[in-house]
């Protein structure tokens, strides 16, 4: 196709993939959201590169398996992010990866470094509870609205706002200490 992938609506790409199951159509969908999903995965696994790769990979595979169930009630981006959040939760339950909030900020050095995320910033995030951490990265790092966050995490918009307030307050306290 000569058309730029950006010009094709998500639903058209999804329908095309479901009709043809072709590699090309998958690549168009993947390239549109891959960076965002991988970034989000990094936030959720405390910037552990291999863990983020694994979570992103599983997210895409599950999404493509369940693509027929996507009804367009939320944006495709939000739908993918929901799958990613579940993947990260599954990993935590299985004890496969260390959760971000389990890192002890008193340890001095986080377990993993990542370009663009300073040690202090990573430590400040690692000190947050899981709920605070998720809301803060979804909102402040990736620009999700409280309405989207509420739907993604199964909480109310009010809870999302309140958690963001407390998460920011805690981070400020960390930097002012």
């Amino acid at each position: 196709m000569h058309q730029e992938p950006e010009g094709i609506p998500d639903q058209e790409l999804i329908d095309g993939f479901l009709r043809h199951r072709s590699e090309r159509e998958f690549r168009l969908l993947y390239r549109r959201y891959a960076a965002r999903i991988h970034r989000m995965a990094l936030h959720l696994v405390n910037y552990d590169g291999p863990a983020a790769d694994e979570a992103a990979q599983e997210t895409w595979i599950t999404a493509m398996k369940k693509l027929e169930t996507y009804r367009g009630g939320s944006t495709f981006k939000t739908w993918l992010t929901g799958i990613l959040i579940n993947k990260v939760r599954e990993h935590r339950r299985a004890g496969l990866r260390r959760p971000a909030h389990a890192l002890d900020p008193e340890l001095g050095q986080p377990a993993y470094g990542y370009p663009g995320i300073g040690v202090d910033l990573q430590r400040s995030l690692a000190g947050l509870s899981e709920g605070y951490h998720q809301v803060l990265v979804l909102h402040d790092a990736e620009g999700y609205t409280h309405e989207e966050i509420a739907a993604l995490l199964g909480i109310s918009e009010g809870t999302s706002k309140s958690q963001l307030f407390h998460a920011r307050q805690q981070v400020r306290k960390f930097f002012n200490a």
Binding site: Q3, H20, R24, H38, V137
Partner: protein, 185 residues
């Protein structure tokens, strides 16, 4: 309720966003898994598919150009004899399994030459890959239509037999046959 929207975020993720690099190998790894689980078709990789689609289109164009030089009335669906005209839409998707392009070129050309020799070919052209759809489409054609032929036949039965003889079907390609309305009175 605290109005968190009004406060500036204490952390900027701008540098992280700018420096983030998506691991290039991830795409290949995911595709390989999806193929293993048969979520992506593996009959033909898409690069080959598009090469073949382009080659088929090329055959059609080359033949059509040849018809003009041979003095046929190619391109026009208005005919003077009693036969009807039929539109053949050639389609193929990633399950198309003709991979030997030089052999396909020969085979398709031979089919077209036979049709022309019998004075049954009116026109043929390659379509671009752009699709513009309008209105309510009960079953959208989508990508995969690489070209069309317009043929002449005495009746639908003959047209069907002509379609059945096209090598495209042998390779799991599809052909849509559409009788052209002569619009007589």
């Amino acid at each position: 309720m605290e109005d968190s929207e009004q406060e500036p975020a204490p952390i900027s993720f701008e540098v992280f966003r700018e420096q983030h690099v998506l691991p290039a190998e991830l795409e290949g790894r995911i595709i390989s898994e999806l193929k293993k689980e048969r979520i992506i078709n593996t009959t033909m990789n898409t690069t080959n598919y598009y090469r073949i689609a382009a080659a088929l289109g090329g055959i059609i164009i080359a033949f059509f150009a040849g018809m003009y030089t041979a003095g046929h009335d190619g391109g026009s669906t208005v005919i003077n004899d009693a036969r009807r005209s039929y539109l053949l839409l050639l389609r193929e998707d990633s399950t198309f399994n003709g991979t030997d392009i030089p052999a396909l070129v020969k085979e398709y050309s031979r089919w077209a030459e036979d049709m022309a020799a019998k004075n049954q070919l009116v026109g043929a052209e390659k379509l671009t890959e752009e699709i513009y759809q309008f209105g309510n489409l009960p079953s959208p054609g989508g990508p995969g239509i690489s070209g069309y032929f317009v043929i002449r036949a005495n009746d639908l039965a003959e047209a069907r037999a002509i379609v059945q003889s096209h090598p495209h079907l042998k390779y799991n390609g599809g052909i849509e046959l559409r009788p052209i309305d002569p619009l007589e009175n």
